[in-house]
């Protein structure tokens, strides 16, 4: 057997503060061969980043401490190196790519200076200044950025370009190992696809080993050879990707993780989230850390779980697979299929579809922001309608105007032109008083569960606030009683009534936001990325809750998101936005089964899927990045990035055309081939 380039043995890391000791990484071992990529997956707080920082020996000096184990890189024990020796390893032999490209570049140095800095520091080949300059040009070309831009400063680049520069810095000294900590989480899906493809290419060309830290199983399926699943500081399952994605035997947590993800290819009525939360790392449960949430919990789970070898490469840390328990009996087949579905939604919609007047309708809705002497076309002529009880999903990349659209419909922003009709009445013409009445019927659930709640108000005060403002009830007691009932509705335990938002985790905070939104019995809710800040298992809980509430109260949703699998899961119809305009609008299934607009196609193919069969297929990566919507020129706004763009696309605006079954697309290419 070939000697691994990196081996981590029984690593233990703690964070020690005055009050607590956090066991961040408990006894994990794995190894990485040359040219191999290992993916470390897990939710927030699983210890993924801590593991990476331990390998780099970059743990926070005062608090973080490695208490046991060894990290061997090319045969050297990294833990026994001095800080000066370690500095020679960092950057030259092991390089790291951080999550947020916005903050990992120094804003006052040009990108060329930042790349050459690493080269000068390590100067491995004794390069002359000219050779260093040449190397800077080389690596910039490598990551697909023109060397002529090396004199530019970071703010002159877009997010995706910045991340390419971060990668260029990491690769400058030709390290033999690369640690990528969520390298694409902050990027849009089409940009993510570009960056991932580039990382894959470079890895193959430079034969670098890589540790890919991510929470996205789709990225793992696309880029990794080996997968390690972490939970509460422990490595609970490790195996080749074939073992993880196609094998039958899994740790119950890994199964839960898979069950929580909405699938792109199949229609799932209800997600199967993992109940509960990741345990507090300051007081981990005895024995198996997952046992309190585990559906297959046994008495023996109070003792530390053994690591069981399933085959040469696949190991699971769980009592279920220990020799003495009967594996076949416990095989969690039931988890793979979701529980019985209450009703088939597609059938239901077919019955009641007949010409119901839409609850919400926009006509030629426009919102321009004035910037100096030009206008930013955030929302440009959007026509949509949503029937009562239905969900319209709005998807698009950041900057496409989807959040602005939601706010203009609610009149939180003033529309530049057009109408918003609620039950047939144009609410944009309402006076202040009438609009205040109207607000009861239309609500919003906001994206960030951390900034959407007033930190100085307790849970019950936050939920009661709208009812107090709108004087829904006469006495305060009635309002509070109703607030508590709402807490029951959204599944928030009553003992949190007097808690403050900072004491709760993201999922619970989002439940408060939902309770607040439904407190006035609205008919229409704009959900602005309500789950994008949450971990997948919590995301599944919240999505289920939103769908339950919708059914119960006959709510109508406008669901804004950048996550295509989420939108497919929750929506009846989908509207795809690009630079303020609608490019495609169709029933959810139609859109996913037969996307027609080139942009929609590109978006769909850019999503990494947690599925091996799909993963290795050639992805059509879309060129370029979303452009600036300030005073856009005439013509199709997607033209600059479109492969099938022709002259007409640049001279005339494409109109939405119905291609049957209410599938609207705005593209000239389709119109020419249209069969009459």
């Amino acid at each position: 057997m070939e000697k691994p380039i990196l081996s981590v043995n029984n690593l233990n890391v703690i964070y020690k503060t005055r009050k607590f000791t956090v066991n961040a990484v408990n006894d994990i071992s794995f190894s990485l061969n040359k040219k191999e990529t290992i993916g470390i997956v897990g939710e927030t707080g699983a210890g993924k980043t801590t593991t990476a920082l331990s390998i780099m020996r970059l743990l926070p000096e005062r608090t973080g401490r490695i208490t046991g184990g060894g990290i061997h890189f090319n045969g050297d024990n990294l833990l026994s190196l001095t800080e000066a020796q370690m500095q020679c390893v960092r950057g030259a032999n092991i390089a790291m790519i951080f999550q947020d490209p916005m903050t990992s570049l120094n804003p006052v140095l040009t990108v060329g200076e930042q790349i050459s800095e690493a080269l000068v520091l390590h100067n491995t080949g004794n390069r002359s200044p000219q050779q260093i300059e040449k190397r800077v040009d080389e690596v910039l070309t490598l990551v697909g950025i023109s060397p002529s831009r090396k004199k530019d400063y970071p703010h002159q680049f877009s997010g995706g370009m910045k991340q390419r520069i971060v990668i260029a810095i990491a690769l400058a000294c030709e390290p033999s190992m690369l640690i990528a900590d969520e390298p694409t989480t902050a990027l849009d899906v089409t940009i993510q696809a570009q960056v991932l493809q580039m990382i894959r290419d470079l890895r193959n060309r430079l034969s670098t080993s890589m540790i890919m830290i991510t929470h996205d199983l789709g990225i793992v399926a696309q880029t990794c050879d080996t997968v390690a699943v972490m939970y509460a500081g422990e490595l609970i399952e490790i195996g080749r990707i074939a073992d993880i994605f196609t094998g039958d035997l899994h740790h119950p947590y890994s199964l839960g993780l898979f069950g929580s993800i909405p699938k792109m290819r199949e229609k799932t009525e209800r997600l199967t989230p993992i109940p509960g939360l990741m345990p507090d790392p300051t007081c981990l449960p005895a024995g198996c850390h997952f046992s309190p949430r585990c559906p297959y919990r046994m008495d023996v789970c109070n003792t530390p779980a053994p690591t069981c070898k399933m085959n040469e490469t696949h190991q699971i840390r769980c009592h279920l697979f220990a020799k003495e328990s009967l594996v076949s009996m416990h095989l969690p087949e039931s988890l793979k299929t979701s529980p019985a579905l209450p009703k088939d939604r597609t059938q239901e919609s077919a019955i009641e579809e007949k010409h119901e007047a839409p609850l919400i309708q926009t006509l030629g809705l426009k919102k321009y922001f004035r910037i100096k002497n030009s206008y930013l076309h955030a929302v440009d002529d959007i026509n949509l309608s949503i029937s009562r009880g239905k969900t319209l999903g709005v998807v698009g990349e950041s900057g496409c105007g989807k959040s602005t659209l939601g706010r203009v419909i609610l009149r939180l922003l003033k529309a530049t032109a057009g109408e918003v009709r609620f039950n047939g009445e144009n609410i944009l013409g309402y006076g202040t008083q009438k609009m205040r009445e109207m607000r009861r019927k239309m609500q919003i659930i906001l994206q960030d569960p951390y900034s959407s709640l007033n930190p100085r108000m307790s849970v019950v005060e936050t939920i009661a606030e709208y009812m107090i403002v709108n004087k829904t009830f006469k006495t305060r007691q009635e309002i509070f009683n109703r607030a508590v009932k709402l807490m029951d509705t959204v599944g928030l335990a009553r003992r949190y009534v007097n808690s403050y938002p900072h004491e709760l985790d993201g999922g619970r905070r989002q439940r408060i936001g939902i309770a607040r939104a439904i407190s006035l019995d609205p008919e229409f809710i704009v959900c602005d990325e309500p789950v994008s800040a949450l971990d997948v298992s919590i995301q599944a809980q919240i999505l289920n809750l939103l769908m339950d509430i919708q059914k119960e109260h006959e709510l109508t949703y406008l669901f804004i998101t950048h996550d295509l699998s989420v939108v497919k899961h929750i929506s009846d119809e989908i509207l795809v936005m690009y630079l303020g305009q609608c490019v495609e609008h169709a029933a959810s299934d139609d859109l996913f089964d037969s996307p027609m607009h080139p942009y929609t196609k590109a978006l769909l193919s850019a999503v990494p899927e947690p599925d091996l069969s799909a993963s290795r297929r050639e992805i059509s990566v879309i060129r370029g990045e979303i452009t600036n919507p300030i005073d856009p020129p005439v013509g199709c706004r997607f033209a600059a990035r479109c492969d099938s763009c022709r002259d007409i696309c640049r001279s005339k605006d494409p109109q939405l055309v119905d291609y049957g079954n209410k599938h609207y697309v705005a593209c000239f290419m389709l119109q020419n081939y249209r069969v009459f």
Binding site: V469, A493, Y500
Partner: protein
């Protein structure tokens, strides 16, 4: 943070609305901060002494001159010694605290109230209102504060109340700036948008959602302001625009004592120490209050 056991998640605990008023809750937390309690007790004692001055020594002791006893060292009879007119410095400090504390607190509270309303209007409404308010404030702060105060006193006439008004006006711009900058960062957050979506009117948004979150820097600013105001009042009375000469006041005591810095340093020591003690106490109390009012720092 979340170390409650998972299994009790769905238990229906009996509901207790511990809807204690914010004051009670804040007091509970403030009590645990020893330094803040020191400040609170000191300030409290100073106020009590200022109110009960007559019970301790008659006002005559503070103003009657007695040249036979001038510039005596501190002793059992004259705790803080006597000044160049033979007046008891302790009595002067005691009666002086009435003026100084009243000016210090009164003006700080007034500028806090005015500053936070004006500042939050500027930050929250923005646009033209913001521009108008801030240019007006620039106008005020472009002149030295003392000059501004002098101009106001000259216009209104001297006297304690007018001095108060003058230095309040001089200190408002700082408050407006502090409030405006924190309001700007808060107004960006999503919970403000959520409040709007619920039909909340602007005044309620400002008082219920914005100002409570801006209170930290405000409290720090106002407690630091108290000692500055005491000095400012002193400077005005030194220039003959504040309290009239025989009436004692800490700042005035300081400026009277400066001629005797070599020969009788204790004259400067006692009023100086009182100004230091009161402003130190105010600052630690302010820090404690800021922490006690913040639910995020609650254990």
């Amino acid at each position: 943070m979340n170390n409650l056991p998972l299994l009790t998640e769905n238990q229906q605990d009996d509901l207790v609305f511990k809807k204690e008023s914010v004051l009670v809750e804040t007091w509970q937390r403030l009590k645990q901060n020893k330094l803040a309690m020191f400040g609170l007790i000191t300030i409290f004692l100073m106020i009590v002494l200022a109110f009960c001055a007559e019970l301790i020594t008659p006002y005559a002791n503070a103003i009657t001159m007695n040249f036979k006893q001038k510039l005596l060292l501190p002793s059992g009879q004259h705790w803080f010694g006597t000044d160049n007119f033979g007046r008891d410095v302790f009595a002067r400090c005691l009666y002086g605290s009435r003026v100084s504390l009243a000016v210090g607190f009164g003006t700080s509270i007034a500028s806090l109230l005015i500053g936070s309303v004006v500042g939050s209007m500027a930050g929250f409404i923005g646009g033209r209102v913001d521009n108008l308010i801030m240019r007006f404030m620039d106008l005020f702060s472009s002149m030295p504060a003392i000059l501004l105060a002098m101009a106001v006193v000259a216009a209104l006439g001297s006297g304690l109340v007018n001095v108060g008004i003058a230095i309040t006006i001089a200190s408002i711009p700082t408050f407006v700036r502090v409030v405006r900058s924190s309001v700007l960062s808060i107004a960006d957050q999503e919970f403000i948008e959520a409040a709007r979506a619920g039909g909340t009117r602007t005044p309620r948004i400002i008082f219920r959602h914005v100002l409570p979150n801006a209170i930290g820097p405000l409290i720090v600013q106002s407690t630091m302001n108290v000692s500055q105001m005491i000095i400012m009042a002193a400077v005005l009375s030194f220039l003959g625009m504040g309290v009239d000469p025989p009436q004692p006041e800490w700042g005035a005591l300081l400026s009277e004592a400066k001629e005797f810095l070599r020969t009788a340093p204790y004259l400067m020591f006692f009023p100086g120490a009182l100004i230091c003690l009161s402003s130190f106490s105010m600052n630690v109390l302010g820090d404690g209050l800021r922490d006690a009012l913040d639910p995020r720092l609650r254990d």
